[in-house]
Amino acid sequence: MRNSRILAVGHHLPARVVTNADLTAVMDTTDAWIQQRTGIRERHYSEGSTGAADMGAEAARQALQRAGLAAQDIDCIIFATLSPDVDMPASACLLQHRLGIGGMPAFDVRNQCSGFLYGLAIADKFIKTGTYDHVLLVGAEVHSTGIDLTTRGREVAVIFGDGAGAVVLGPETNAQRGILSTHLHAEGRFADKLWLECPASRLRPRLTEEMITGAEARMFPKMEGRYVFRHAVTRFPEVIREALDAHGLSPQDLSLLIPHQANLRISQLVAMGLELPEDKVFNNIDRYGNTTAGSIPIALYEALEAGRVHDGDLVCLAAFGAGFTWASALIRW
């Protein structure tokens, strides 16, 4: 059975930059507090009628161009997001529409911060079995239209930014190269520790005026930060070691770790736990905040541009977030 590999990467960040200082104009917070807690200095917000698929299409075009492929050459599209353009159908459908293509399967993966890696695992299997040759995987979010940009929502709102990344995957015949394995986990008993409750099909009715305007703010994401932090610093190293163990490798063998950009303090603790020097862990959260499903492909794009990934390097991608879900992928570049 053949392997898959990432042929090319693309990214897109909307033009508008929102600094911590900008946020202090709409909520009671400070640049120092945000930086100390999260490592974030600024993030990007989209404007106009931009949805996740619009940004995803920009990232996809760049990835396709770099892969030397036309949109029509794609056999399958996987779109990871928790902020879809419309409630239904999937953003993958709108992405097809933006790219002017149709016919190949296109679906959404809704696995929050781990969404990109769940999507990567699926893309990898479709290529491994020979079902598809080229899979387009996009991770994109428009958080800015769904966060509470007031003092009430500050703990969560300051973290998130908009952005998109895309990868094109294709076959790799060398069994020692490409995606070596993927590892996916979830623990639904913590589903309400980081969530956006409404609309909620389990309520009757699932959406009310009260949910939109009421004091409870049930249409904004909620987070129990301490819980998330504690689980993140346990699950990140665990799932990275799981990937390394599967191949008899150790953290010392890693050329680069690209963690989902959730919080700089989490990434630093993970690096410390694995005894990885700073130059082996990629971070760009200072400029983009948490772009959820978009964060890993955006970071991968920048790591490649910065010359931090070379042929033959061992690269680990890892994520933890809402669900809880967590995941890793080990790649021999």
């Binding site: 996740a52 879809p84 419309v86 809704r110 699926i122 769904g146 623990e187 609309p199 009715p205 699932r206």
Partner: protein, 311 residues
């Protein structure tokens, strides 16, 4: 290596009369994950497995319990499935076929031994049963189906799954709001008062596409599975409109006795339609071990597909 469906189950809430038609409707405040637990428990029993033996979960729905995280996470917790992965897939009416295709891939690649696939919906909490919305609302029902996908043995196997999407028609059958693309806020009181959070369907367009896509994708799947129409014991063809399933059956030359039309039984259950019908047809004796069944669906997205499975 090939994969097979080793067990299936379904759960339908009690029927309730709404706008002059009886539909399975979950009156109690539960989400699709809770409906799927009963279906999955049945599927595990039929496969003679326990929840501890499940390696991975795939949940297909368009009506998740909450906005995020996915319904699969809530389902995983209720099933007591430890820390195995729980994937949420969105492919609308064809969601179960997309989930089945992914399960088949993970098993064939040798990554997972058994994958629990659930298709479940609670539509009733998001429909407009008042005068204006009634013609659309009456088409849908609530329900859950599950299939346990594992390694194929003997004749029993998933012979083919084929799926397609054409997003250029995404606004023919959709629910527009909340819409993250609306700046600065994805859902306003005005959007709500205009009923933009209810599904809107261009019924004629969806009908035409169903009539065209279903026979074609069934031929495609049968061809890929190297199976002739006569070798299929039963066709389960899911569409929003029962007459479209019927039309597809006629085009293919299938006698009504060999055709199951899910929406004629319970209204449209979208991602749950196929696994519920499959489980019902086994329970009623219309399908048994060794039987070959062709599943097909076409709907919102547009997304459509077909599968040929020997039980």
């Amino acid at each position: 290596m090939s994969s097979a469906i080793l067990g299936f189950g379904h759960h339908l809430p009690a029927e309730v009369d709404r706008v002059g038609v009886r539909r399975p409707i979950a009156i109690e405040a539960v989400g699709p994950s809770t409906l799927a637990v009963s279906a999955a428990t049945q599927a595990l029993e039929r496969a003679q497995l326990t929840a501890a033996a499940v390696d991975f979960i795939i949940f297909a729905t368009m009506t998740p319990d909450v906005t995020f995280p996915g319904a699969g996470c809530f389902f995983q917790h209720q099933m007591g499935c430890g820390t195995i992965g729980a994937l949420d897939v969105r492919a609308q009416c064809a969601g179960f076929l997309f989930a089945l295709a992914i399960a088949d891939q993970f098993v064939r690649a040798g990554v997972y031994g058994s994958v629990l696939v659930a298709g479940a919906e609670v539509h009733s909490s998001g429909l407009d049963y008042s005068g204006h919305g009634a013609p659309i609302a009456r088409l849908f029902g609530d329900g859950a189906g599950a299939a346990l996908v594992g390694k194929g043995a003997g004749r029993s196997r998933i012979r083919n799954v084929v799926v397609h999407t054409d997003g250029r028609h995404h606004d023919r059958f959709w629910c527009e709001y909340p819409a993250s693309r609306q700046h600065p806020v994805r859902m306003t009181i005005d959007n709500f008062r205009q009923g933009k959070h209810f599904p809107a369907i261009d019924v004629d367009a969806v009908r035409r596409f169903g009539v065209e896509s279903l026979p074609a994708v069934i031929h495609e799947s049968l061809h890929a599975a190297d199976t002739k129409i006569e070798q299929v014991d039963r066709f389960i063809i899911s569409h929003l409109l029962p007459e479209v399933s019927e039309s597809a059956g006629k085009t293919l030359g299938i006698s009504p006795a060999r055709l199951t039309i899910p929406a004629a039984r319970h209204g449209h259950l979208t991602a749950a339609a196929l696994p519920v019908a499959l489980s019902e047809d086994v329970a009623s004796g219309q399908l048994g071990p060794g039987a070959t069944v062709c599943l097909a669906a076409s709907g919102a997205g547009y997304a459509w597909g077909a599968a040929v499975v020997t039980l």
